[in-house]
Subunit: 305 residues, 5 copies
Amino acid sequence: MELTAKVQQILSFYESDNPGTKTNLARILMSGKLAGTGKMVILPVDQGFEHGPARSFAPNPAAYDPTYHYKMAIDAGLNAYAAPLGMLENGAATFAGAIPTILKVNSCNSLAGSRDQAVTGSVRDALRLGCSAIGFTIYPGSDQAFDMMEEIREMSLEAKSYGLAVVMWSYPRGPKLSKDGETAIDVTAYAAHMAALLGAHIIKVKPPTSFIEQDEAKKVYEGCKIPVATLAQRIAHIKECCFAGRRLVVFSGGAAKSDADILTEIRGIKDGGGDGAIIGRNTFQRPREEALKLLSDIISVYQGK
Amino acid sequence: MELTAKVQQILSFYESDNPGTKTNLARILMSGKLAGTGKMVILPVDQGFEHGPARSFAPNPAAYDPTYHYKMAIDAGLNAYAAPLGMLENGAATFAGAIPTILKVNSCNSLAGSRDQAVTGSVRDALRLGCSAIGFTIYPGSDQAFDMMEEIREMSLEAKSYGLAVVMWSYPRGPKLSKDGETAIDVTAYAAHMAALLGAHIIKVKPPTSFIEQDEAKKVYEGCKIPVATLAQRIAHIKECCFAGRRLVVFSGGAAKSDADILTEIRGIKDGGGDGAIIGRNTFQRPREEALKLLSDIISVYQGK
Amino acid sequence: MELTAKVQQILSFYESDNPGTKTNLARILMSGKLAGTGKMVILPVDQGFEHGPARSFAPNPAAYDPTYHYKMAIDAGLNAYAAPLGMLENGAATFAGAIPTILKVNSCNSLAGSRDQAVTGSVRDALRLGCSAIGFTIYPGSDQAFDMMEEIREMSLEAKSYGLAVVMWSYPRGPKLSKDGETAIDVTAYAAHMAALLGAHIIKVKPPTSFIEQDEAKKVYEGCKIPVATLAQRIAHIKECCFAGRRLVVFSGGAAKSDADILTEIRGIKDGGGDGAIIGRNTFQRPREEALKLLSDIISVYQGK
Amino acid sequence: MELTAKVQQILSFYESDNPGTKTNLARILMSGKLAGTGKMVILPVDQGFEHGPARSFAPNPAAYDPTYHYKMAIDAGLNAYAAPLGMLENGAATFAGAIPTILKVNSCNSLAGSRDQAVTGSVRDALRLGCSAIGFTIYPGSDQAFDMMEEIREMSLEAKSYGLAVVMWSYPRGPKLSKDGETAIDVTAYAAHMAALLGAHIIKVKPPTSFIEQDEAKKVYEGCKIPVATLAQRIAHIKECCFAGRRLVVFSGGAAKSDADILTEIRGIKDGGGDGAIIGRNTFQRPREEALKLLSDIISVYQGK
Amino acid sequence: MELTAKVQQILSFYESDNPGTKTNLARILMSGKLAGTGKMVILPVDQGFEHGPARSFAPNPAAYDPTYHYKMAIDAGLNAYAAPLGMLENGAATFAGAIPTILKVNSCNSLAGSRDQAVTGSVRDALRLGCSAIGFTIYPGSDQAFDMMEEIREMSLEAKSYGLAVVMWSYPRGPKLSKDGETAIDVTAYAAHMAALLGAHIIKVKPPTSFIEQDEAKKVYEGCKIPVATLAQRIAHIKECCFAGRRLVVFSGGAAKSDADILTEIRGIKDGGGDGAIIGRNTFQRPREEALKLLSDIISVYQGK
């Protein structure tokens, strides 16, 4: 399938990457129902690590089986499926080539503290499992943020040298941030920008609120009259903060909410120029048919239908 | 000996592993009296590290000799024998090929603290001793849990690359867990799930109680009506939490108890679909003939006799 | 373009470096409007890491785009452009060979603490992006200073072995230093000297004040009558402290100030024998034409016009 | 010289070691006056590190010279000479092949704390100096015990791969142990057992007292009626705790005492089946002739004279 | 130039070193006015790191230029010149082969704490700069002492494998030592002995006082009547503590003092059998002619004139 002009333009922004990495970015952008549009919907299943298996999968027990998620992502026509090591190992051969995969290489868990993540996968694991990218979370603002940045520096260099893409989850938290500050527009923009500076190809942040956390930033947002009242405005600001739109940025859905609310949020993201959604809990915690319906609706938004 | 359909099915769940690792899993599953059934009984002898030699072996002094355990495991028709470096070195040549062995590569001891383990063996040791797998303990919930996960990430990648299997002991403990919480059903299921996510081939946890530790989990267990009243139900839940039964899970016997109690527990494990038992103290702390009798009875349960 | 006598003299001071490193130093010294004069003006854009994207670029939104800075540095006739990984990746191919680049390989951020920096780039990144040098910040006086020195020791050895040059930002701070002490003449001279001892080819410090922080140093400055009253005198002292002028030393502009103040400072630096300016915020936070005008004026000072 | 049946039996216990390591164990067991008996007397000279040079050697100034100890060990007909790097370097060429040597690769000192040791030698040093073994101290029970175990794990694997033997000094200490507990029979047996589990070929502990430190152990020692009243009984228990006698265990003399006391202790060790003595201060802190006399008397005990 | 009998004897003490290291030791011993005598005078210039540039060089501004020190060491007929990385890089090509050099590979500074040093140079740096040796400081007694010992263990092994010599500065300090204890005879002897045990070829300590710090040591010094009243006696004791004189030991001059005092101290060192002087501040902080005069006088003492 020939690359669309849109995808060619996006790839042109990744001018310093080798053809291997461009190929893997193209694989993600040319898969599923949104193939060629430059938009992406990605299924992440790392809830088991974060909240445990029952809290993640008991509402829809079929989801205990890792192959369920492969099938869901394929049948819904998504762009990629992201999960930790064991989840991907369960299906990587069966579904080889059926959908691009992203190995989430670090993970937190709620039995231990929440301001660091353990590195639980390797670039070599991603290669042997046929993945297109590695995924890594940083916690800007936490005491471990510098260590996490140094970990991804090494893994990112290694991944890129093998032609893999790098997806970065950037979730601010830490002693200098208030709870509201974790999703504040200034902090989210800062977190997304740092992921871009660290060399991420695809950046994942939470949809920001209009709250501004840092006093120094407040002066600038007000002084320069940066519009942040609507979600679309905030998304547009985030995109601008990622190298003037030259980096792909996708947004998570966060906690479960009504379908109407989800679709409203998705429309805001699309209107702001966001590149897509990473949506997990809201799909696998409901029956398969309902999930397929929601994903279809989300995709329709991105298709401009 | 040709693989049974049951073992072929189990191996199919390990679709991402190389033939070397599949061969070693097959060796374990095709050894001893339970060969081909998909069930396992494994003899672990790491008590010496944990409690010291006298507390471990004085009740049955013949057990001071490492070769005693090799012979016991072979004569009882077990699937594998697991022990730390020095124990395996004492017999690995004499009993070469007689029974699959698992090198336990980290160890705690009661002279020092109990929330971490020292790495005391290497993948290269496992290879030079002809082992089929490495064994590694993680303590989900402890302050060292992230470090332990990163250690096993590296050793697991190395082991798999050489065609070894990986057995993970997952024992929750730490500042956020109550004493009862360490064996709670939600915490045990979480611990087993994390071992699966970390890429373990065989997972070892303690038989869980019906206690639920975490408030967030309690809502789900009650809301989704997950049955955890009987041991068989809890075992079935643990198996489901390990990729919908697509990972082998074995259970330890814990502290010494009566044979009747042990066999009742084993029956519960079997009824719940557990894949077998790791049983140490209850065998080597009694006379050889009595141990052989108990192991024979346990195996009979798994044989459905 | 043949090397000028001035540049040949400067290169002679780097007698222990291999021809590769000399070539890269020559590239920097032979680029732009100051080519061949031995003076340099370098554009650094690491503000995004340090203060976040909005505080850095909102005053001049065109600067959100990394290619803006490449063009600015080229059009203004600067000697080099220095930035973190993601910034350089965005333009390294488009502007390949158009201007020497310096990969800033460690970075701080204001969401976390400010007495260490995360290593965020690698020598191999610098090589694959066609850079002429790596840039590294040390914080002499901080609790992390020894760790930072050991990091740059390793990266510097690696960089030099591949023929790259090493630029060192030396910014004193820490528990033993007062706020005024961070820019004191004795402390700045000490910081510059340590960068020279660590093997830096180009040293970057802030223009020092006439304040003297350390009692032991005060005795010497007064006893030996070291003149530090004027900026030119202080710059001359800094240069002397960098191996009697045998190392290149450039000075930053610090916080935004009036153009007149900037040019006065630049004249003082030039009169003291400073080798140039690293100037960031004062260029990219104003409209492009104004920035080009200011840079042209600065260059004129160094050209002795 | 042909191996005796006794030495052949001992080597058979090291069935997992390569011929290189067996050769080095054989060299130690086939050297000196006790050659072929399976018993060993080893001269260790690491007092200089532990207590400083004057406290170690001033009582017999000839001992300041490292070659003194080589000659002493050779002339007394000992099995091996163990010392830190600098001591061995002073004589390794002159006395090449004259006596097996053991490079002590970690060391403590009384200027700093006493619950860890610095790694001060390498396996490659042992190889280039023609040593037969490396020696390593662990402090079971100390906060650093896990780190020390991980250090020896790596060095031991490397040493064995090159055909060297591994001697482990196991000295319990730490916050959970009383002063008396450091030489208690239960703790000493535990410490010796852990060295065996860690893969040591030769284990060195202090002669234990009949004190029992741990409550849990006390129950077993009393319940199982383990005899520990006499030194010979305690030595026999230690040997049993080292894989039922399948590991070589030697005992140190501890602080200086009368010759009669030393010989009484040696007899107890021999009667209990101990494999020999490591004796340092009591030899080199007295005139050479007196030391030779004492060593001769000790050897006579082991010869059964 | 043929080796003298004296130098041949000294080299014989380094029997375990390869010919490369012996060659470099011979280079140092066969250079300058003391060539062949077995005595050495070495110029160290690491004051800039320790006290900053102005405090080091302002009293004699010509000394800001690193080439000044090369010339001084050569013109004064010294045995070697020791300095940190940047200092050596400034002259290593110009003065290639003119005098043996020692790369000081770790450094402290007075802006940060003083109980550790940063590793600031590498063995590979020493090789590429044509050095004969690396120099390393340990602080016996400090909390970092074990780490420093492990650093020099690795660097020393690497240096020796390439035929370099190892010079060790051993400066006691730390929480268990009084200020007077840092130069006490027992502590200095202990520090020198540990450097020897760590495998140093040349040991550098401060001239000790007759104070005795440690109670345990006091008993031995008094009991064994070790003479420490005169400097010559103390030097002789230090030499004895360095393998009965089989290691080269040189002494620093410490703080600036009168020439007469310096020469008296040098005579004491020579009378005690010390192998030479490392003298820095007292030379480069005075005019060149005066420095040459002082060095000439010092050399005359060692020549027995």
